[in-house]
Symmetry: C2
Subunit: 388 residues, 2 copies
C-alpha cells in the first residue's frame, strides 16, 4: 500500500455515483490511483493508472455531493498499413469520414461553477489552457449543453508542448475534434458535432472528406502525401456515426519531425517513442511500394532526423551553451503566467521564466524548460566519461 | 520470495569459501540469484542478477566440497568520444595496448574433472562451445595452470549467435583475449598472456599496436576506419599491465550491422539495444567533424540499416514465408547436435533442427530459430490489425 493523503471525498457517495462497490473505490484511492487536485480545484479528482472501466485521466467532479464524470480520452489506435486496417476495421461501413489530426495537445473543456475549465490528457486542470479556452469558446454552448464535454486540440506556436507554425496560427487556437456525453463517454455523430460547433462559432479540425470504403485507401493515401508536404500531422478516420472506434494514421514527415525533436534531447527521449516512429516508416515504405530511389530518400531523411539534432546538441553543449526547450505563452491575465510556472514545477520540471511583454491587451511570457539529463550526459561524454 | 528448487549445495561451506555470511548466501539462493546447472554439470552453479561483489554469470564449482569460483566477464565500458575518453581514463599511462574486438560470442574455458568446459557470458555450460574448445585448445595449458581461466571470442560463420564471414574462418574458431586468475579475477598482463597463448598454440585476438598515449587517439581512429572498411567490429583499448579497466570502441559499420540484424526481427529487438547503436553514430559523427557530404552518407547508411531489413521482413511474411534466424553448427560427436538443441530449448527458444551432413570426420547441422514475435506482429499488421 502506497502512502496517500486523506481525501475530502465522500467515498460512499462517490462509489454509488460511479456504480462501484465502495470497497473497490477505497482500494483505488489507497493505491494512489485517484488523485485530488489542488487550490481552487480541490474538489476535482483524476483517475491514474488503469482504474477499471475508466480511461486514464478520467475526472470526477464533486459539486458538494453531486457528482460528474468527465471520461478520459479514448485511446485511438494506429494503422500501420492503411489498406488492410481500413478493410479489417471498417468492413461494415459504406463510408468513412476523414478528419485532420492536428499537432498540438489535447484538452477537454467543461463548465465548472459558471466558468470554463480545461483538462489535459492526464486530467489535470491546466491554468494556461483554461485561461485560453475562456477566450476561445462561447460559454452559451456549455450552458445549453451541460451534459456534453468538448474535446479539442490546442495548436499553434505559442504552445508549451508542441510549437507548430504550419497551421498559419499566430498564437494558439483550439480545434474541436470530438464531443462526448459526460458519464457514458458516448460520442456525438460527426455531422451533429460539426453542426453544433459551427453554430457556436467553435474552430474545428478540417473534415477532409467522407469516402466510400472502397475508395478510402487511395483517397486517404493521397491526403497523407499532401498533408506531409505541408508539414501537417495526419488524419483520424472515423465511422460517421461514431459507433466503431476511430483509427489514426500519420505522415512520414510528422514521424520524422517527432524524431528530430526527440533526438535533440536524446537522453530524455523514451525508447519506445523513438522505436514506434521508426517502425512506422518501415511499414509505410512497404505499403507504398517505393522504388529504390524513393526508398533511399526515405532512409536519408530518417537518418538525418535522428543524427542531425543529436549532433547539434553535442556541438552546442561543447561550445558552452546548454540545450533547453523554449516556448512562449500568451495570456490576458498576467497572474496566469506565474500560476502556469507553478503548475509545471509541480511536475518536477526545471523551468526558467524569461521576458514578459505586453502585446495589446495581452501578455507574452518566455519559458525555458531545461533538459538536465541530456545536458549532463553530453557534458560527461565530452569530458571523457564512459557510456556504461 | 520466489519459489526455488532445493539445492544440493552445502550452503555453510560454500558461504565460507565465498567469504559471505551464510545467511547472505541463503538469501541469494532464496531470491533465485544462484542457479544450479543440470545433467552432468549439476554441481556447477551460476550467479544471476547482481549478487554483491560478483559479476553476473560468475560460476561456483563444487568439487565434492572443495570450491572454485570462475568470475563473470567484467563489463567493458564504452568510449562515445574516443579522444576525451582516452585522456580521462588513461592519463596515468605512457602507452596503451590496442587489441581487436572480434564479433562473436564470449566464452570462458576451464578444466573440469579432466576435460575442458566452456561457460557462456551468463554462466551456462554450452554443449556446442564445450565440444569445440576441446578441439581448439591444448589441455596441457590448463593442467599446468589450474588457477587460470581463459577468456575468448567464438568467431566465424558456423556460429549459433553471430555469424561472421569477414574473418576468413571456414567454420568457427576461438580467439583468446584475456586470462584471469580464478577467485580474484585479476587479469594477466597483456604480454604475459600473449606469450602464454602463443606457447600453447592458442589463437588470439590481434594486437594492433601499443601506442604512446598522446598519439593513441589518432592511431586508434585510423585503425577504426580501416577495420570498418573490412567489416570488423572494433577495438579494446587496454592498460598493458591490465590494472586500469579496458575501454571498447567500435566501427560505424559494426553498429549498423547490429541494427540490420535487429530490425530484421524488429518486434524482438530490445529498444535499448537499438537506441545505443544509433546514439554511437551521433557521437562519432561529431568527433570526426564530418563535412555535410560525409554526414549525409552516414545518415543514409543509418536509415538503410534500419528500414531495409524491416521492409524485407514485411515482404517476406506477406509472400507467405516466415522469418527465422538460421545457422549451422559443426561437431565431431553427433550427439552434441541434439544436446545443443535441448540446451536452446531450455531457454524457451523455438528451434527447428534441419539437415545433418557428414563433412570429413565431422557433422554439420542446420538450425532455424523461429522469431515468433516478429512473424506474428507482421502478419497481424498485414491482416489489418491496429498497432496499439
Amino acid at each position: 500500500m502506497k502512502g496517500y493523503r486523506k481525501m475530502d471525498l465522500d467515498v460512499e457517495k462517490a462509489a454509488e455515483f460511479l456504480e462501484l462497490p465502495s470497497s473497490r473505490l477505497s482500494e483505488i484511492i489507497e493505491k494512489g490511483n485517484l488523485k485530488q487536485n489542488w487550490d481552487e480545484y480541490n474538489r476535482i479528482y483524476r483517475f491514474e493508472g488503469h482504474a477499471p472501466q475508466l480511461e486514464d485521466g478520467s475526472v470526477l467532479i464533486d459539486n458538494s455531493g453531486s457528482f460528474e464524470l468527465i471520461r478520459g480520452f479514448p485511446k485511438i489506435k494506429r494503422a500501420m498499413l492503411l489498406e488492410p486496417a481500413l478493410k479489417n476495421n471498417f468492413s461494415d461501413l459504406t463510408s468513412v469520414a476523414v478528419e485532420e489530426k492536428m499537432n498540438g495537445y489535447n484538452i477537454r473543456v467543461v463548465d465548472y461553477k459558471g466558468e470554463l475549465i480545461a483538462f489535459t490528457r492526464s486530467g489535470h486542470v491546466c491554468p494556461y489552457s483554461t485561461e485560453r479556452v475562456r477566450n476561445f469558446l462561447d460559454r452559451d454552448f456549455f450552458e445549453e449543453h451541460p451534459d456534453i464535454v468538448v474535446y479539442g486540440e490546442m495548436t499553434g506556436p505559442e504552445n508549451p508542448y508542441v510549437q507548430k507554425h504550419v497551421y498559419g496560427i499566430e498564437s494558439l487556437d483550439l480545434f474541436v475534434f470530438d464531443m462526448r456525453y459526460k458519464d457514458t463517454g458516448k460520442a456525438l455523430e460527426i455531422h451533429r458535432r460539426r453542426k453544433l460547433a459551427e453554430k457556436y462559432g467553435f474552430n474545428q479540425v478540417n473534415l477532409l472528406g467522407e469516402f466510400n470504403i472502397k475508395e478510402a485507401p487511395v483517397r486517404i493515401t493521397n491526403i497523407i502525401r499532401e498533408l506531409g508536404k505541408i508539414g501537417h500531422e495526419g488524419v483520424v478516420i472515423k465511422d460517421p456515426k461514431m459507433v466503431l472506434q476511430p483509427i489514426k494514421y500519420t505522415c512520414s514527415e510528422s514521424n520524422r519531425s517527432d524524431l528530430q525533436q526527440a533526438f535533440k534531447f536524446y537522453n530524455e527521449a523514451g525508447r519506445d517513442y523513438l522505436y514506434s516512429r521508426v517502425i512506422r516508416e518501415g511499414f509505410q515504405s512497404h505499403e507504398w511500394e517505393e522504388n529504390e530511389e524513393d526508398f533511399r530518400k526515405r532512409c536519408l531523411l530518417l537518418g538525418e532526423s535522428i543524427l542531425r539534432p543529436m549532433k547539434e546538441t553535442i556541438a552546442k553543449v561543447q561550445s558552452g551553451e546548454r540545450i533547453s526547450d523554449d516556448f512562449i505563452i500568451r495570456v490576458r491575465n498576467k497572474s496566469v503566467i506565474y500560476k502556469f510556472r507553478s503548475y509545471l514545477e509541480r511536475f518536477g520540471l526545471h523551468v526558467v521564466l524569461g521576458k514578459i511583454e505586453k502585446k495589446g491587451n495581452e501578455y507574452t511570457a518566455e519559458f525555458r524548460k531545461i533538459n538536465k539529463s541530456t545536458n549532463d550526459k553530453t557534458l560527461a561524454m565530452l569530458e571523457g566519461q564512459l557510456w556504461s
